[in-house]
């Protein structure tokens, strides 16, 4: 298997606050990797560094062995809710990445249409984001990221703003979509069961500063169904990840409680 995305020795401080220390991990081609960590593990900074909108003090991010110098269409991003442009229709949102990179043509339009169909939103082209539900907005978000045909799909807690039922449906949908093209995916979440359900491997981060605590291989069969979440095997994985971050989570809650209001 070839390495698609490599994060090497990333270090970053803001003034005296060290947020990332020697972060190392990789994502193989066609692999689905989840990153899990308590708040304060530096995942926002990590994500911004991978996106190329934040510069690391040390270390590199590489795709196919090339070090990245800035943002580019080789990475497609799915953000938390509300990052769709409210003044653009669903269709205009989906083609946004193509448009700004000057790649909007008959062929890419066809591809964008295909992705819109894949996420189940054909016929909603002319709607505005405010007219559709939160779950549908995240599907558009996904189609927008896929439309630029990126090497790596990076998803930042994409389902965190959704209600529990919608979230489960979206997880299944994401797996269904992923199964079609097997894009390389880096999925950031703070929900352990979500990470176990979706990923081939889980990168567990520790906090203050952020560092890689452990990488866990998830050996659950694919295609995965919701019933899997009730198996003992699944529970064991969740337990294992939880044990790794429990102390950190308590520490972060304590810290929040002590923070001056």
């Amino acid at each position: 298997m070839t390495v698609k995305l490599q994060v090497k020795d990333l270090c970053k401080s803001f003034g005296t606050l060290e947020v990332m220390r020697d972060i190392n991990f990789h994502v193989d081609e066609h692999e689905f990797v989840a990153i899990v960590g308590p708040s304060g593990c530096g995942k926002t900074t990590l994500l911004r560094t991978i996106a190329g909108i934040e510069k690391a003090d040390r270390g590199v991010v590489m795709i196919d062995g090339r070090a990245l110098a800035g943002p580019g269409p080789d990475r497609g991003f799915v953000f938390q809710q509300d990052s769709l442009f409210p003044w653009r229709t669903i269709w205009q949102n989906v083609v946004f990445g193509l448009e700004v990179n000057g790649e909007l043509n008959a062929q890419t339009r066809m591809r964008a249409k295909e992705f819109l169909k894949l996420v189940g939103l054909s016929g909603f082209e002319k709607y505005y984001p405010t007219q559709i539900s939160g779950g549908m907005r995240q599907r558009v978000n996904l189609a927008r990221a896929l439309a630029i045909n990126p090497e790596v799909l990076i998803m930042d807690e994409p389902f965190s703003a959704l209600d529990a039922q919608t979230r489960e449906v979206m997880q299944l949908e994401l797996l269904r979509i992923w199964q079609q093209g097997r894009k390389t995916v880096l999925f950031i979440t703070h929900q352990i069961d979500e990470a176990v359900f979706l990923a081939d491997r889980i990168v567990v981060l520790g906090r203050r500063p952020g560092y890689v605590k452990e990488v866990i291989q998830v050996e659950l069969p694919r295609p995965r169904v919701l019933a899997l979440k009730r198996t003992a095997e699944f529970g064991a994985y969740v337990e294992r990840v939880w044990n790794l971050i429990e102390k950190d989570v308590h520490a972060s809650i304590q810290e929040d409680a002590q923070a001056p209001v």
């Binding site: 911004r48 996106a51 190329g52 909108i53 800035g70 943002p71 580019g72 269409p73 990475r75 991003f77 953000f79 938390q80 509300d82 990052s83 442009f85 409210p86 003044w87 653009r88 946004f96 990445g97 700004v100 990179n101 709607y127 505005y128 984001p129 405010t130 007219q131 630029i148």
Partner: protein, 271 residues
């Protein structure tokens, strides 16, 4: 003979609901005018104290016949529209400069804040003294009264662009220029429109007040003439025209808003 009576509840989006809303405002206007007319005819009979709507209409027709009315309207309209259009474009330009350049912000900020809070209408006599009694002095008064809400709103709109949207655009590889055109500008449009509404309101007041201070024609001139002669029907003519103009302009801006910000209307329809 049994009659079939179908009772349907009005849905908020239905045509019947919209019709009911329309007839409510129509009834309110007609009722108000009728009440005014009746009070003027049977309670306060002196024209000096209360001119009735019919008397105003008669006066409007008389003035329109001899061409006097059109002339005054034309003068005021020219002063107002030149001034407001100028204020809108210059205001957007200055607001943009202040939002995108820290030095421009520091240099212009204190002046804008000071002038916005000052009732600049008070210096209109001075402007008339400087620029003369013809239309250009009024244009200037309109500009200095209308431009500050434009500047402040444009700047606030460009600045308040959602951080997340800017980050999203950057992740997709947008250049700074693209972020301005495709993210900051569209997200500032609602603010700019709010500014335009304020500018129009202030501009209308500015035209009339400036004309009151010194002019040879215009609706403000008509007002001054009417009040000097205690010609109340004439006074009401000017006031009526100003009120109708204000309403029409607000309605026009509303139309333009729906045209340029369809995503906003989409929200309205939902709620």
């Amino acid at each position: 003979m049994a009659e079939n009576v179908v009772v349907t509840r009005l849905k908020k989006s239905s045509a019947a609901w919209k019709g009911a809303l329309f007839w409510t405002s129509a009834a309110s206007i007609v009722g108000g005018l009728l009440l005014w007319e009746l009070v003027g005819r049977f309670v306060v009979k002196k024209v000096l104290f209360l001119t009735t709507p019919t008397q105003i209409v008669v006066e409007i027709v008389r003035l329109a016949r001899n061409g006097e009315l059109q002339q005054h309207i034309l003068v005021s309209a020219a002063e107002f529209s030149i001034g407001v259009v100028f204020a809108i474009f210059l205001g957007i330009g200055v607001g943009f400069a202040m939002a995108s350049n820290k030095f421009a912000k520091r240099a212009l900020g204190p002046w804008v804040a000071a002038f916005y809070a000052t009732p600049t209408i008070a210096i209109s006599p001075l402007i008339i003294l400087w620029a003369g009694i013809d239309i250009w002095s009024k244009v200037i008064v309109v500009v200095i009264n209308s431009i500050f809400p434009m500047i402040i709103n444009t700047e606030a709109g460009l600045r308040s662009t959602d951080r997340q949207l800017i980050d999203a655009a950057r992740c997709f590889g947008c250049s700074r220029l693209q972020i301005f055109w495709k993210v900051s500008l569209p997200s500032a449009v609602p603010f700019v429109f709010a500014g335009i509404k304020l500018a129009i309101g202030r501009g209308l007041v500015a035209v009339v007040v400036a004309e009151l201070f010194g002019s040879r024609a215009g609706l403000g001139f008509l007002l001054a003439q009417a009040s000097d002669a205690f010609n109340m029907p004439l006074l009401f003519v000017a006031v009526t025209i100003l009120a109708v103009t204000g309403m029409t302009l607000t309605w026009l801006v509303g139309m333009l808003e729906r045209l340029l910000m369809p995503w906003r209307t989409a929200v309205d329809q939902e709620s």
